[in-house]
């Protein structure tokens, strides 16, 4: 029987009188690759922010692996198994590739490990793992450079790896393919398939429909803060509400 890993129940949120999320309800099944799509401004990133704990919903709740997240501060959610990437790349500009990625591991370490010097041992905690994952994803270490000087596509990929470093059970990816060329998107899809095969549930926002179609099984569609479709990727093309939202209705 498929297990629910994330349950969004009747979540509503408004900012300064503007209703950004209205009564959104859907679930994500454990092990799935689930897409969240919709036109710009539909509220997708806001929903991600609610799941991460940045915003508190006005109404409704989010539960992860059966536990209500409402009382859990955003800082602690990554430790619970919930990690994310960002729409506008938010890597630390003055840190190196390796350091940025190793930051993702922070929540896995206790105070004694946090106090161990990283620089003088080659095999320090987590470092091997970080280098390995970067290599698997085809990202060079760019030794001697800070992240701010690297190309967009590379930084996008680094953010995904950083999110993975927390060993999450649910990975939220906000537009991971945005700005990537065809080859890079292919690499991303292969990589995410591997990640999914290793047991991580994916919930991703993206606009690249072929990418979404080829990667995900489930999809939820939002428009103007409301959920208008929730089901298989295959049913998407035929759903009237979705077509209206994207193409505009004739009447």
């Amino acid at each position: 029987m498929s297990e629910t890993i994330l349950r969004i129940s009747n979540v509503s949120k408004s900012f300064g009188g503007v209703q950004v999320l209205e009564n959104v309800t859907f679930t994500v099944i454990k092990g799935n690759r689930h897409a969240l799509i919709g036109p710009n401004g539909a509220g997708k990133t806001t929903l991600f922010n609610v799941i991460s704990g940045i915003h508190e919903p006005d109404e409704g709740s989010v539960s992860f692996e059966g536990n209500d997240l409402t009382q859990v501060p955003s800082r602690k959610r990554i430790k619970k198994g919930l990690s994310r990437s960002f729409q506008n790349i938010r890597l630390m500009p003055h840190l190196s590739v390796l350091e940025n990625v190793m930051l993702g591991q922070h929540s896995r370490f206790g105070i004694f490990d946090l106090l161990k010097p990283l620089y003088f041992s080659i095999e320090s905690t987590g470092k091997i793992e970080a280098i390995e994952t970067l290599r698997r994803f085809g990202i060079d270490l760019y030794e001697g450079r800070t992240v701010s000087s690297l190309p967009y596509g590379v930084r996008k990929k680094i953010e995904v790896v950083r999110a993975l470093m927390a060993k999450p059970r649910l990975l939220l990816l906000d537009e991971p393919a945005a700005g990537l060329n065809t080859a890079e998107t292919d690499e991303l899809r292969k990589f995410l398939n591997e990640v999914s095969d290793s047991g991580v549930t994916l919930l991703l926002v993206d606009h690249d429909m072929p990418f979404v179609n080829s990667l995900c099984q489930q999809v939820s569609v939002m428009n103007f803060g409301q959920l208008i479709y929730n089901g298989n990727v295959s049913g998407l093309r035929k759903d009237k509400k979705v077509l209206d939202a994207y193409l505009g209705s004739d009447d």
Binding site: H94, L103, D113
Partner: protein, 281 residues
């Protein structure tokens, strides 16, 4: 070693320690423009404890650090609620208040100051400076140091990565205050005299400038900054007023040409890579 040389090295040692105190908070993204206040706390604690209570030197210095750290800790909670320019002004206000309290207190010597009876040698200052420098490098090489630099770059995302941003900021501020207190304690014991008028805005500004010009991206910054601005004027035999004038010109020039400071992360990595063939982590 000549008396003159000894004096210069003592000042260098104290400046280096003071610089690290400001660096630790700056590396976390907070600018403390009130360093002199915490240095004063340590200096006066040192003066009183050794004069009135006959504490031995080691204990005096420990308490200078503790007082500096304790007051920083208490202040950190309200101060760290402010941000940006407000935080700069708040730290500035703290230093002014500390100086004001000292000036108004007869017990603390008021405007006349206190003569300190105990005395320490330059060697002790330098040994402690080396320890602090090593500590600085050690701290920044740990995951805590990584977390600090993450908080500096983007505290919102650092928080989402699981970093206890608040604890890091308060911790850095407290640690900075403790080390500044230590530098004050050393000052009092070496120079034998403390007065509130010395611990003024200029001192706070200078130490912050040492750190920003040296560079806040790596633990080399405060060492280079403090050394540069303490030793070069001596080496070139520049008189007091000209020294500060040139200091000012250098600052303006640096902010145009190399605002990240003398030692930047990239520069350090390039040097490291060239000599050792591998990276910093």
């Amino acid at each position: 070693m000549s008396g003159y040389m000894s004096g210069v090295l003592a000042i260098l040692g104290i400046n280096i320690i003071f610089a690290y105190s400001i660096y630790i908070t700056a590396a976390t993204g907070q600018l403390n423009l009130g360093g002199a206040g915490f240095q004063a706390i340590g200096a006066y604690a040192s003066a009183i404890l050794s004069n009135e209570m006959g504490f031995p030197i080691g204990l005096t210095l420990i308490f200078s650090s503790i007082f500096g750290g304790l007051i920083s800790f208490l202040i950190a909670f309200p101060i760290l609620r402010t941000k940006g320019v407000y935080m700069v002004l708040a730290t500035f206000a703290i230093a002014e208040i500390v100086a004001g309290i000292i000036l108004n207190s007869d017990y603390l010597g008021g405007p006349t100051g206190i003569v300190v009876n105990e005395y320490i040698e330059t060697e002790l200052i330098l040994i402690i400076a080396v320890i602090i420098v090593l500590f600085g490098f050690y701290l920044m090489s740990t995951r805590i140091g990584l977390a600090m630099r993450a908080v500096h770059d983007d505290d919102a995302v650092a928080n989402l990565m699981g970093v206890n941003t608040r604890a890091i900021q308060i911790g850095a501020f407290t640690l900075g205050g403790a080390i500044a207190g230590l530098s004050g304690g050393l000052y009092a014991l070496y120079f034998g005299f403390v007065e509130a008028q010395y611990f003024n805005a200029n001192i706070s500004i200078f130490v912050l400038l040492f750190v920003l010009i040296g560079g806040t991206q790596t633990a080399w910054g405060p060492l280079i900054g403090a050394s540069f601005f303490t030793l070069i004027p001596e080496a070139l035999r520049i008189g007091d007023d000209w020294r500060f004038f040139i200091f000012g010109v250098i600052i303006v020039a640096m902010m145009i040409v190399r605002p990240e400071g003398i030692v930047t992360r990239d520069a350090l990595d390039r040097v490291w890579f060239k000599f050792l063939g591998r990276t910093n982590v």
